[in-house]
């Protein structure tokens, strides 16, 4: 299991691994939004938490199809399926590797991008906390979507269509935590809901992803 994680991390940072693409995308979205809505500081400060969440979510979505597609193309997925690893373990590790290479970097750069959007002073802490809690759910849900569409031609667009509705609760509670935090309101309720969704998804979705992957390998 550890070796699979190490391999995926190593592949992500080597040439052609696509590490950093998500970060660059996140940066571009954050730059484009003020260009689209205008430079007024008050407006940007108000929408900053939401923009950061949307940007992180889209950056995450962008890299989902790599979770299984590469292993599927070169045949390693078949070989992994015959290895002494439970399928649930394989999908969990894949989701963890995706989170470490995509989700976590997004969390780390989010405050920096918050400066570009004039995020209010109190918002920095909560944007990091909300993304830190919510991004594992994004990775795990995305892994489920990637498992559903593995091996499909033109699976990329379908993957977005399947995954985005599933992202709704995470986005709503995550952005709510960030927004309330930025505006200085109590964040307890959405924070608990976000944590609940994240833990629930991490605990239960790998079973669905594994079932789906087995069907697709058949």
């Amino acid at each position: 299991m550890i070796s699979l994680l190490m391999r995926d991390l190593r592949l992500a940072v080597r040439a052609g691994g696509g590490f950093g693409l998500g970060l660059a995308f996140f940066l571009i979205v954050t730059v484009l939004v003020p260009l689209g809505v205008g430079p007024e500081t008050g407006l940007l400060a108000k929408i900053a938490p939401g923009i950061l969440w949307i940007g992180a979510l889209l950056a995450c979505l962008l890299s989902l199809d790599r979770i299984f597609a590469l292993d599927w193309e070169d045949g390693s997925l078949d070989l992994l399926a015959t290895a002494p690893l439970p399928m649930e373990g394989i999908v969990s590790i894949k989701a963890l590797a995706h989170w470490l290479t995509t989700g976590l970097p997004l969390v780390i750069v989010a405050p920096g991008l918050g400066v570009l959007l004039s995020l209010p002073q109190g918002g920095y802490f909560w944007i990091v906390v909300s993304l830190l809690l919510g991004s594992p759910a994004l990775s795990v849900i995305g892994t489920f979507g990637a498992a559903l569409t593995v091996g499909l031609k033109r699976g990329g667009l379908l993957l977005s269509l399947l995954v985005l509705p599933l992202y709704v609760p995470t986005l709503v509670f995550g952005a709510e935590v960030a927004r309330r935090g930025a505006e200085g309101f109590a964040v307890q309720t959405p924070l608990l809901m976000l944590a609940g969704i994240s833990f629930g998804a991490v605990a239960l979705l790998p079973f669905a992803s594994a079932a789906v992957l087995r069907i697709n390998l058949r």
Partner: protein
């Protein structure tokens, strides 16, 4: 424990391709499947490896004893030869990859990225993977594709060593490996009688 197959029928995309298969593979033996393209050898091997369910019948002594090698080698081009092999060794709970490197003459290539290898060298690396799994039953699908004569000899030697150590090998290949232990098994007579797939049958 032998690999045994009882009344096995296998299907590709729901359509039965082979049926009524019965054979067993004892320790130290090799079984070479023969049959024209499209006769279902790959499907049979995938079924025995547990990647797809059998249509009928059962397979015993497979499961966790199988090391499977398909057409695709499952190599990561960005990783070196050593890294590729070590990864599979660790997945199967093993450490030592030196025997595999030597067995397939990969020692000199050990630090080259797999992406820079020729087709034949990649194939050798893919087959070397079998030696690091530590599993007794090798299930091989066209293992000698893109190998030159010298490499085929290396491969035959590796199989012989595996059999001598009490392993077994089941392979689909058209090349004579010069293995005395190998029996031939022609899948031709087991071609499934034309019938509609199970999922179509429900609607007739």
């Amino acid at each position: 424990m032998d690999l045994q197959v009882f009344d096995l029928a296998v299907a590709r995309g729901g359509v039965p391709v082979l049926e009524g298969l019965n054979f067993s593979l004892a320790e130290g033996r090799a079984l070479v499947l023969r049959g024209p393209n499209g006769s279902g050898k790959t499907t049979l091997l995938r079924t025995i490896a547990g990647l797809q369910p059998a249509l009928e019948g059962r397979v015993e002594g497979a499961g966790e004893r199988i090391a499977y090698a398909a057409h695709a080698d499952g190599l990561k081009t960005a990783l070196s030869v050593t890294e590729n092999l070590s990864f599979w060794a660790q997945v199967f709970g093993k450490e030592d990859i030196s025997a595999a490197l030597q067995g397939f003459d990969l020692v000199d290539l050990a630090h080259r990225p797999a992406g820079s290898l020729s087709a034949g060298q990649k194939r050798r690396l893919g087959l070397a993977r079998l030696m690091v799994t530590g599993r007794p039953v090798w299930v091989l699908d066209e293992p000698t594709v893109s190998l030159d004569a010298a490499s085929v000899a290396l491969f035959a030697e590796a199989v012989r060593g595996h059999l001598a150590a009490g392993g077994a090998a089941l392979m689909a290949t058209h090349i004579d490996l010069g293995l005395d232990e190998a029996e031939l098994f022609d899948v031709g007579p087991y071609k499934a009688k034309p019938r509609v797939s199970a999922q179509d049958e429900a609607f007739l």
